[in-house]
Amino acid sequence: MTLVEAINHTLHQEMERDGKVLVFGQDVARNGGVFRATDGLLDRFGGRRVVDTPLAEGVIIGTAVGLAAEGFVPVPEIQFLGFAWQAFHQIAGQLARLRYRSDGRFGCPVTVRAPFGGGVRTPELHSEALEAQFVQCPGLKVVLPASAADAKGLLASAIRDPDPVMFLEPLKGYRLVKDDVPEGEHLVPLGKANAVRTGDDVTLIAWSAQVEVARKAAAVLAAEHGVSAGVLDLRTLVPLDIEAIVAAVEHTGRAVVVSEAPQSAGFAAEVVATICEEAFYSLEAPVARVGGYDVPYPVGMLEEHYVPDAARVVAAALRVCGEGA
């Protein structure tokens, strides 16, 4: 199954399982979503549970808060993550905080789905990797699947979670990522990283689309440089699997963190700081970051060298291994 098919399949299963699950957003019902992630839901579950909203992100998230307080389980879609800015006051100021500001009376079991990520020559504001923005909103969980199987297992867990989840889907991987997805119930717990590949010399830490980049880099490192690189897919940034990070770095003594977002104050910085605090004495070399640059996401003709690629990760890994380049 492709990653977007896995999302679609999981939305069907979760809506089947729980009559309180609602799906709404721009073009999600009749059109089945601009990427077909919600295709078929309207026919199967009807217009009371699958709703095309007016074109206004603020009200999409704001109503999710109210619906959740009344016991529904909203799974709103933001068509592209760059348009979450229009809803930022509702996401950061309200959705994240309802449990806290109502002193525990109301929870917000809302899963906000949105695609993001570069490499497909989209117009402005369709590609930005904004994950760190949401990590800075205590109360939100931040989940980013990299495989189709994880898309299913993590989405099901997100929908069943009592707290709001930003579920960020790799746009480029919607159809490119394809793997075996368990048919029946499949839950991947939030807060458990996935050791995609084990290695002894260096740990490549990534999430979302960059996991594939890290895997390619690990293959090159093994084949061409005799370097054994492990790949750790964080899967969820909040909650963060600190234990898995520490264990991997204690094993290899070296790490490279790969992400798409602008470098300054990106989530990679949080990972590096965590390693420094929790595994400093295991380090054989400074931890390296490979990521986007501190610029707005570039236009089509320029994006090629913005998004990290395997060659950059390989170079960084060789550097931390003290092997030139």
Binding site: N31, D52, L55, Q86, P123, E124, Q263, P296, V299, A315
Partner: protein, 372 residues
């Protein structure tokens, strides 16, 4: 002023030409024949450009394209009533191919935009056109800011902002319109009601009887105009402009039209639109409509049409060839983030240049990264 906006009801659609262009049903705008002929030529050009950008996208040479087909009169008609030397236009994304009145640079820049070149965001001064807007409705408050500034400076212009029926649902529209009413600022809110926002039809967007009707709540006039009638567009925009520059405040103009193409080259309307709906609009083509009117007056002909199409094709080809020939340094995304880059950006840029085997010094004044 030939039209009283206060009297034009928000519920009826104002039109000058009958739907097939064969008759005048209201007083035509007070403009020279040459200007109307120029609008006709501009619409023809927009239609030719539309076909060209569509096929360039299909060939993989240009990016996702949002077609203007069917909406040419909204833009070319409105532009004809504006003053390119004093007014600002803020487009959404379909409009640039029909904004030739604001200078040939508009189309040339738009070709760069479709190519994915950074200079595509840069309608060069003194062209008073804001960059294409992708974040829906975000340009509406900017229009109010421009209008407010012009008034503070005692300048005679207006800001005319285009936005879709879909975009009108965003808070940015309501917030800007409300504030514009309070300020009495010279803004023309031009809502392009083309029936659809991707797959979302009007009735899922609003329960109001019209978009123009919303103006009542902001305290200024709202008019519905037939957006497929170039003469009606000229009349209404001219009247709204006159009102704005004489201190009468904003107007909300709802141009009723239809998106004849898909939302973009990435969309398939068969999934959500009944074919009869589009078919019903075929007989209301804005170009055929004005053409019939002008031919009836001896101002247009088959020869002139062929000539206009050939001129349009030449202009677009030149714009595209120039865009394709325009190179860009692969590190140009570091330009224009700030007036001066931060120290970290300087380091990042040097790292990228080293990686690409470029001279470590990006030089000064790489400008828009046009390689020029």
């Amino acid at each position: 002023m030939s039209l009283d906006l206060e009297l034009a009801a928000a519920e009826t659609v104002y039109r000058v030409l009958s739907e097939d262009g064969s008759a005048l049903v209201a007083e035509p705008p007070d403009v020279r024949d040459d200007d109307v002929v120029a609008v006709m030529a501009e619409m023809v050009k927009a239609r030719v450009a539309n076909g060209r950008f569509f096929s360039l996208q299909r060939q993989g040479r240009a990016g996702t394209y949002a077609p203007i087909e069917g909406q040419e009169a909204v833009v070319a008609g409105a532009a004809a009533a504006l003053d390119p030397a004093h007014d600002w236009v803020l487009p959404q994304y379909r409009e640039p191919v029909a904004l030739g009145r604001f200078g040939p640079e508009v189309l040339r820049t738009y070709a760069l935009y479709q190519r994915g070149h950074p200079a595509g965001g840069h309608f060069p001064a003194p062209v008073r056109v804001f960059p294409v807007q992708i974040s829906l409705a975000a340009q509406i408050p900017h229009a109010l800011g421009l209008a407010w500034a012009m008034r503070l400076k005692g300048e005679p212009g207006v800001a005319c902002v285009f936005f879709g029926d879909g975009a009108s649902s965003e808070g940015d529209f309501y917030e800007a319109a409300n504030f514009a009413g309070v300020l009495g600022a010279p803004v023309l809110f031009l809502c392009v009601n083309n029936g659809w926002a991707i797959s979302t039809p009007l009735h899922s967007q609003t329960a109001a009887t019209s978009f123009a009707a919303k103006a009542a709540a902001f305290g200024f006039p709202g008019v519905r105009v037939d957006g497929n009638d170039a003469l009606a567009m000229i009349s209404v925009v001219a009247a709204a402009r006159e009102r704005a520059v004489t201190g009468g405040g904003p107007t909300l103009i709802e141009a009723v039209t239809f998106r004849m193409g898909p939302h973009t080259t990435a969309d398939d309307p068969k999934r959500y639109q009944a074919p009869e709906e589009r078919a019903g609009w075929e007989g209301r083509d804005p170009i055929l409509r004005l053409r019939r009117h002008l031919e009836g007056r001896g101002l247009w002909s088959a020869e002139r049409q062929a000539e206009a199409e050939a001129l349009a094709a030449a202009e677009i080809d030149a714009a595209w060839d120039r865009a394709e020939a325009m190179t860009v340094s692969p590190d140009a995304f570091f330009d224009h983030v700030y007036a001066e880059p931060t120290p970290r950006m300087v380091t990042q840029r040097a790292e990228l240049r080293a990686r690409l085997g470029l001279d470590p010094d990006p030089g000064t004044g790489t400008g828009t990264g046009t390689g020029a």
